[in-house]
Structures are given as structure tokens and as C-alpha cells.
């Protein structure tokens, strides 16, 4: 909080904060307004007398109805959900074990292995999709959810591994040593002591992995071709933009509905993991 005179508080705190929040939230507002705006308003020229770009006087749900009935949107949602959950689960599982091993176990080249895993994360997707496409074809996985479930972990596992590695390092190793003296095997100490304490870390890794796979565009665009296999980001943009015709209302409705699960996951878990972060590893 800024100290001092009232004007200082306004100039250095409230005004910048408001500007920041408004500019961040405006795209979402635009998305919402466009979704409920009737076509007659959407395509009204800017110099028309009743032009009102920032609000609508005749809100309608027709775009959402069209989206759900005339396109395969619900299939895309389902596809995206299955793919994201599966890819997140695989990546979390591998990331947890790898992160634990790299931060806790002593084995030859443990340090350099961590770096190598990090380097794989730095290879840009735009490069990686070319060899991956070849692999997908060889295994005949193209145009199926497996193409994405198995390729998303290529960037999610390094990400989860590094996040978990950092988190495990922040947990005092005495806790585990104590558990092992108390009668737990390394595996049990991991499951009963380390993982429960690492829940905030696991949650945040999971949230990020889920969001990354939900929003992923490139692999989904390349590896999937038939409309009924597509994910939301690809389905909406490829099926609702026909040549130079943009179905703005349906596009924005798709974006709006498509962002709900992510927003839901965030709002639900963020509280959990912030709450547990504040009082976890002390003592």
C-alpha cells in the first residue's frame, strides 16, 4: 500500500491498478458482448447513427444456440476435456516421480539430467511438430485423441518435472529421513509424507499443465483433421472461419464457453493452493 498523501495513493496505486485491471478484463468483456449481440448490431457500420460498440440493447443467446446445435462444439469440448485430463495425468505422474528423483536421490549425472530435461522444454513446438508428425504417422495415431495425449507430455513433463523439483527441494529432507527412521520405506515416506506436503506444488503443476493442454493450438491443428476429432481452439477457428467469412457471434460464444472450464479449474484450485502454500512446510 502506498503511504502518504491522498493524491499519491491515487496516482501511484488506484489509477494504475484500475488501468491494469480494465485493460486485462476488456477482451473478456468484448468476448461477452459480442456473444450476446444480435447479428444486426454486429455488422452495423461504424458511422451508422445508432452505432454502439461497447454495449447492446438487444441481448440474445442465438449465437450460443447456433454454436451448440449447428456445430460440433460439444464434441470438441468433450475431446478437449479428455485430452487435457489424460495428458495432465500422464505428465503429473511422470513429473512427480522425475522431480522427486532429481531432487532427492543421489545417482550419477543427476544434475546434468535435470538440465537436459530443461533443455528439451526449450525446443520450440514449432520445430518439434515436424518430427512428431512423422512419428504420429508411423504409429498410425493421426486424427485420434492419442496423437495429442501422447505428444502434449513432450512439453508438459519437463515443465512439471522442473516445477516439482523446485518444490521438493523446498521441503526439508529431515522430514523424509525422520519418516524412514520411523519405519517407512522410501516409497512410503514419499507417499505418506512428501506428496501430501507437496500438494500445493502438485496442484499448481496440474493447473498449469491442464491450461497448457486446453489452450494448445499447434499440435491440435496439425495432428487432427476430421471435424469430430478436433479440440475447442482448433474447432472453433477452423469451422467458424470460412474463407474470409467470420462468424463473430459464434466464434466469441465458442471462446466464452471454451474458457469456462479453465476459469473454473483456476478459481476452484487457486484458493486451495494459495491457502496451503502459506502454511505448509514450516515446522
Amino acid at each position: 500500500m502506498v503511504e502518504g498523501a491522498l493524491w499519491r495513493r491515487w496516482v501511484f496505486f488506484y489509477i494504475p491498478l484500475t488501468a491494469f485491471v480494465v485493460s486485462l478484463l476488456f477482451p473478456f468483456y468484448w468476448m461477452l458482448v459480442t456473444t450476446v449481440r444480435p447479428d444486426s448490431e454486429l455488422y452495423r457500420p461504424w458511422n451508422a447513427p445508432n452505432y454502439a460498440p461497447f454495449w447492446t440493447t438487444h441481448p440474445t443467446l442465438v449465437h450460443i444456440r447456433d454454436l451448440l446445435t449447428e456445430t460440433l462444439f460439444s464434441t470438441w469440448m468433450l475431446n478437449t476435456m479428455i485430452i487435457s485430463i489424460a495428458a495432465t495425468a500422464i505428465s503429473l505422474f511422470c513429473g512427480l516421480l522425475a522431480g522427486y528423483a532429481l531432487s532427492r536421490l543421489k545417482f550419477p549425472f543427476a544434475g546434468s539430467l535435470g538440465t537436459v530435461i530443461f533443455i528439451t522444454y526449450l525446443v520450440p513446438q514449432t520445430l518439434l511438430f515436424i518430427p512428431l508428425a512423422d512419428i504420429i504417422r508411423n504409429f498410425r495415431l493421426g486424427d485420434s485423441p492419442w496423437a495429442l495425449i501422447l505428444t502434449y507430455p513432450t512439453f508438459l513433463i519437463p515443465f512439471c518435472t522442473w516445477l516439482m523439483m523446485g518444490y521438493f527441494k523446498s521441503i526439508p529432507k529431515e522430514l523424509e529421513e525422520c519418516a524412514r527412521i520411523d519405519g517407512a520405506t522410501r516409497w512410503k515416506a514419499m507417499v505418506y509424507i512428501i506428496f501430501p506436503i507437496a500438494v500445493p506444488g502438485i496442484l499448481s503443476a496440474g493447473i498449469f499443465a491442464f491450461t497448457l493442454s486446453w489452450n494448445e493450438f499447434l499440435y491440435a491443428l496439425v495432428f487432427l483433421s476430421s471435424p469430430e476429432q478436433k479440440t475447442v481452439p482448433v474447432g472453433v477457428t477452423s469451422e467458424l472461419i470460412r474463407g474470409d467469412v467470420f462468424y463473430w457471434g459464434e466464434l466469441m460464444a465458442g471462446a466464452l464457453l471454451g474458457s469456462i472450464p479453465v476459469a473454473f479449474v483456476y478459481s476452484f484450485f487457486v484458493e486451495h493452493y494459495v491457502a496451503s502454500l502459506t502454511g505448509s512446510v514450516k515446522g
Partner: protein, 363 residues
């Protein structure tokens, strides 16, 4: 019932030889304290007994059974860590019960044992709480409780009191001692605090640079230190040291430097015979110095100038210049002195120590 034997124990980390050829026998029901400055290998030794650190060479036996390759869980030991290492996501009860659950004790037995331990430590009211809701002293008790519920053969303590404030540390020290008297479990206790070592230990092991310097009962170490390091490490304020030259006059040995000239008592003189006309280190504890009176013989006294006066209440510590050396004397609080006063001190000749300057071993 458990004896612990450590035989020719060595530990090498990549470059560092942390523990060098340590041999120790710890008797049943004994409270053994390992003490030394940081990096002396005491904690590493303890961790090897616990099974948390691999053994480079040597053997560790509990009750004549070699445990070198046993995992920690099968050694039947309990350890209390410096930072308590309480499981933050479990209640106090679950913290204490964890070891028993892992060992598949039945529910009623666990409840009884936890209750008993909580009663001994006075933490019955805290059983439902989480560790973060506890004060430092309470956490320490829970950590102790977690160790005692299992009735292990050996307790290992790794500086358990270092995170407590001074007053609580003294209180917990007494409780630890009582607890040990009551349970009679063999214990190995690591600390860097020589007061803890002296007050808690049945026997004390002084370590430095990975080597055992001396093993013995606290007063034995205090009164008859084996070398310069042990002499200087135990006792607060520390023993005074002065480099003196030994000479022979009129059939008696004298220890002298620029500031003092002391007649060596006959019983020590025999041992000093080989060091005539060479330098040795003379040691005398602060409490073995007193302000000289007419009754004190002149050959056991020397002049000193007071540089600092520390009034502790029960005693006064005088930091004094004696020739090129500084000495601390602990004197009666009723004595009235001022800084820069010149004072004649006398020493207790039976309590003089002499050390070889080169090998640092006692003469």
C-alpha cells in the same frame, strides 16, 4: 537393552574425509554426547548410526549385530532432529502415531502408547493440533514424543535444543535428563554446546576434524583434558593458555614468560623433566585463579592488569593482561576492583595443566 559399538568408522565425501577412524563403545542405558565445533564429524557419525548416511569403511553394531547395511527403519532407533521435522500436514497425535502405524501396531495399542508418551511430556492437550499451531518448546516435546512412543533400542539426538531460546533450552535440558533417567534407553546426543554436553552426558566424546579427541565422563574431561583442544573447548569461560619456558633452578622446575614466573609443583615436575629449556603451553582455568592474599606463596603468584570487568552476579570475570597474554579470572563478587587496576593473582598449583606446544597433547 542395547549397546552400540562403532569400530574404525570412516566417512569420505567426495573430497572431505569427514569421519576418521572413530572407535566408540556405548554401554546399555548410557547417555553418550558427541560434542565438537561445526564440521567436526559428529553429526555425520550420528547419521551413519541412523542409516541416513552410507559408511565408507568400518562397522556399526547394535547389540553385537552389524547394522551397516540395514535400512533406517530396521535399526530400531528413533531420532530427534534439530528442526524437529514434524510432519506439517498431520496432527500431533498422527505425528506420534506415524511410526507405530508404519509398524502395523493395532489401533488400541497405538492410542495407549501415544497417550502414555503425551502424559510423560505433558502434551495431552495438544494432540489434536497441527505442528504450526505449536510453540518451539511444544514442537520439541512432540518430536521427543514421536521418538519415545516406539520404545526404540537407541535414541539419536541431533542438536535437538539448538532452535530453542536460551531459557527454554535450559528447561528442556533438565527434562531430557529426567526423561532419560526414567526410560533408561541408550542415547547418542550430538551438540556443539559444551554446557549441554557436560550436563547431559554420562560420558562425552569430544571430536575435532573427524577425529575423536577424548572420551570420558564430563568431569574427567574437564579436570584432565587429554590435549589442548579439549582443554580449550570445555568450560566457559575457557581455560587460559600461556606459552612458558621451563627452567630448572635450585632443584625445582619453574615455568616463566615475560609476565609471570611460577614454581611447578613437585607432582607435575616429574612429567615436565623432558621439556626443560623448551617452550610448553601452560593452562589454568579461570576459577583456579584468585586474588592473592598474604597466605599465598610468592612463587605461585603473578601480577596482572585488569582490562575488562564482567559482573555476572554470582562471580566477577576479570579480563587481564599478564605479560603478552590475556587471562580471565573468575573471582569472588565481593571484591571491589576497577579497570586498569594492577592486581596480584595466585593460582591453584594442583590445577595447572601443561601441553606440548607442538603435538598439543597433555604432558
Amino acid at each position: 537393552m542395547a549397546e552400540v559399538h562403532i569400530q574404525s568408522l570412516n566417512k569420505k565425501f567426495d573430497e572431505v574425509h569427514a569421519v576418521k577412524d572413530v572407535n566408540l563403545g556405548i554401554n546399555d542405558k548410557e547417555f553418550m554426547v558427541l560434542v565438537g565445533p561445526s564440521g567436526c564429524g559428529k553429526t555425520t557419525t550420528l547419521r551413519m548410526v541412523a542409516g541416513l548416511e552410507s559408511i565408507t569403511s568400518g562397522r556399526i553394531l547394535i547389540d553385537d549385530k552389524v547394522i551397516n547395511n540395514l535400512p533406517p527403519m530396521d535399526r530400531d532407533i528413533a531420532m530427534v532432529f534439530q528442526n524437529y521435522a514434524l510432519y506439517p500436514h498431520m496432527s500431533v497425535y498422527d505425528n506420534m502415531a506415524f511410526g507405530l502405524k508404519m509398524r502395523k501396531f493395532d489401533r488400541a495399542d497405538i492410542a495407549k502408547r501415544v497417550q502414555d508418551a503425551a502424559e510423560i511430556l505433558g502434551i495431552q492437550e495438544l494432540l489434536r493440533r497441527k505442528p504450526r499451531q505449536l510453540s518451539g518448546g511444544q514442537r520439541q516435546r512432540v518430536a521427543l514424543g514421536r521418538a519415545i512412543v516406539r520404545h526404540p533400542q537407541v535414541f539419536l539426538f541431533d542438536e535437538p535444543l539448538s532452535n530453542l531460546d536460551a531459557k527454554l533450552r535450559v528447561q528442556m535440558r533438565v527434562e531430557l535428563k529426567k526423561l532419560h533417567d526414567r526410560l533408561g534407553t541408550t542415547a547418542i546426543y550430538v551438540t556443539h554446546d559444551q554446557v549441554e554436553a557436560m550436563t547431559l552426558g554420562d560420558r562425552v566424546v569430544v571430536m575435532k576434524d573427524g577425529l575423536v579427541q577424548q572420551v570420558g565422563e564430563p568431569l574427567e574431561l574437564y579436570n584432565d583434558p587429554a590435549n589442548l583442544f579439549v582443554a580449550g573447548f570445555l568450560g566457559s569461560p575457557a581455560m587460559n593458555f600461556a606459552t612458558v619456558e621451563i627452567s630448572e633452578t635450585d632443584g625445582a622446575l619453574w615455568a616463566a614468560n615475560e609476565g609471570l614466573r611460577i614454581k611447578v609443583p613437585a607432582e607435575i615436575a616429574g612429567r615436565l623433566g623432558r621439556h626443560i629449556r623448551s617452550d610448553v603451553t601452560m593452562g589454568i582455568r579461570p576459577e583456579d585463579l584468585h586474588v592473592a592474599s598474604a597466605a599465598d606463596p610468592a612463587e605461585l603468584g603473578f601480577d596482572a592488569m585488569i582490562e575488562v570487568i564482567e559482573k555476572l552476579g554470582s562471580e566477577i570475570l576479570l579480563d587481564m593482561a599478564v605479560g603478552p597474554h590475556t587471562m580471565v579470572a573468575s573471582v569472588d563478587p565481593s571484591i571491589r576492583v576497577n579497570v586498569h587496576d594492577r592486581l596480584r593473582l595466585a593460582l591453584n598449583p594442583e590445577r595447572l595443566h601443561f601441553f606440548d606446544t607442538r603435538s598439543e597433547a597433555v604432558i
